[in-house]
Amino acid sequence: MKRVSAQGWNGLFAGVLAVCVLVVIGAGILSVTTLIVESVPSIRQFGLSFLWTPVWDPVHRQYGALPLLYGSFLTAAIALLLAGVIGVTTAVSLTQIGVPWIRSVISLLLEILAVIPSVVYGVWALLVVAPIFGRWSGYAGGSSGEFAVSGFGVLAAGVVLGVMVMPTVVAVTREAIASAPKDIAEAAMALGATRQETVALAVMPFVRKGILGSLYLGLARAFGEAIAVSLVIGNQPRIGGSLFARADSLASMLAHTLTGSAPPLQTAALYEIGLLLFLMTTVFYGLGRSYIAREAISPRFQPW
């Protein structure tokens, strides 16, 4: 009698937990379905050409994703270039050179960098970074028109994104370096290799995958960042062809346009943009994760 009831409790408990799992997964499925359903009118109207139509023009009810893809890819490329070069070298410094206490201070600073909300980055981007770029391009000859005044544009957005993505690159690369085999590095040192030679010979060959993974994760994060980008990219969905030109990205467009008062077709087009964003971040995120063991990163600190 007693035993049966104990089992009953166990079963009930497991059942409740299973329901929670279903709720979580169900919420995910519902979300994706919603994005699809809401974008149906736009998909019907524009079909696949949505992807390569180079205009986004609410006045003429003409919506194409190309200018936004352009803005997303260009800003993400700038961000990854910065975060990749600076982030990877920083990760190497934090594991290979320097005084321990300086290392831990810098690690702490970078962890803080990762928890700062994007809207706070937005304040910094808008009030500190953009003016610097504005002044700088003014000195540089001022030929880039509006950029010279405000500093808004692809470059400013890319740089801010780079700063936001860097903690991810550093954290993942650092874990990769930490899990590279120590005895191989010691073998190199025992042969009389300098630090630099040890890193090149016996560390880097083991962290290539981790670096690649961190860059993909950074790419996913850069694509998804809406708030900070929308404040400095200039919010003009066009293909300017210059780093100093204003533009717009997928996520930024969503942030500043979707306000509920938009006409139905535009709303649908925006949802299609959202769907596109989801697909792209999922692909890049999935690629990134495929290079990085789940256990390699402590659950405490996952900046993405």
């Binding site: 321990p100 085999p181 005895d183 191989i184 010691e186 073998a187 190199a188 040192m189 025992a190 042969l191 009389g192 290799a193 300098t194 030679e197 010979l201 016996a202 060959p205």
Partner: protein, 250 residues
């Protein structure tokens, strides 16, 4: 020819924890000095102080003097010290991303040798000295992981010998090998001591008795007793040494 190595009052710590206390030990030219002692007593730490590898670990510090042929290694460039004082680790650690040949050539290349013919010549010589040449001469361009563990360890020895060191430190070089490979390594040590000064850490007392001319017993970071191997094993002066070598503890 090898060169003599001498440790004077070597102390080492990791952060606050003292691992070695004032160890003084003379390691004579062209002899095999064995270091024995229970696990965790600081044997590895000691020989890592000898080629300045200890200081590369996080939190590691040392004091005291290590003299190579009378010159303090802590006054030399660490990369030069490690070049003269080679080290073999307890687990074979060939560079897994390199071929067998490139492994042996790695040290030579590091120190600036580029000439292909000379590289090939030195590599062959080193492989011969490590008693590996005949087994690998037809497959020098395979990855080092294609070799058995015992062969990998001899590859590591060849890699270390290629840059012409004067002292070879060995940290339990046979501990992860099968009995046959162990035998091969022991014969090799016997052979190598003609040209090099050898310091070997071992857990295996029979091994120490077989290969070493001189033996030092470590306990809890201190050097308890040293002497010729025969003396240490047959007439130990210290009771702790006697207990250890007769297998009463450790």
């Amino acid at each position: 020819m090898g060169k003599a190595l001498e440790a004077r009052a070597v102390s080492a710590r990791f952060h606050e924890q003292v691992i070695l206390r004032e160890v003084t030990l003379h390691m004579p030219v062209n002899q095999v000095t064995a270091i024995i002692g229970p696990p965790g007593c600081g044997k590895s730490t000691f020989i890592r102080c000898l080629n300045r590898l200890h200081e590369t670990a996080p939190g590691a510090t040392m004091s005291g003097e290590v003299l190579l042929d009378g010159h303090s290694v802590y006054d030399m460039d660490p990369t030069e010290v490690r070049r003269s004082v080679a080290m073999i680790f307890h687990r074979p650690n060939p560079f897994p991303t390199m071929s067998i040949f490139d492994n042996v050539a790695a040290g030579l290349r590091l120190h600036g040798l580029r000439n292909r013919a000379k590289l090939a010549e030195s590599a062959e010589q080193a492989l011969r000295r490590a008693a590996l040449w005949d087994e690998v001469k037809d497959r020098l361009h395979l990855y080092s992981s294609a070799l058995s563990l015992g062969q990998q360890q001899r590859l590591c020895i060849a890699r270390a010998l290629a840059i012409e060191p004067v002292v070879v430190l060995m940290d339990e070089p046979a501990s992860s090998l099968d009995p046959l490979s162990t035998l091969v390594i022991e014969e090799l040590i016997e052979e190598l001591k003609r040209q090099y000064t050898i310091v070997i850490v071992t857990h295996n007392l029979q091994q120490a008795a077989r290969v070493a001319d001189k033996t030092a017993f470590f306990l809890d970071g201190e050097m308890i007793e040293q002497g010729t191997t025969t003396a240490l094993f047959t007439t130990p002066q210290d009771k702790r040494t006697a207990d250890y070598v007769t297998g009463r503890f450790g």
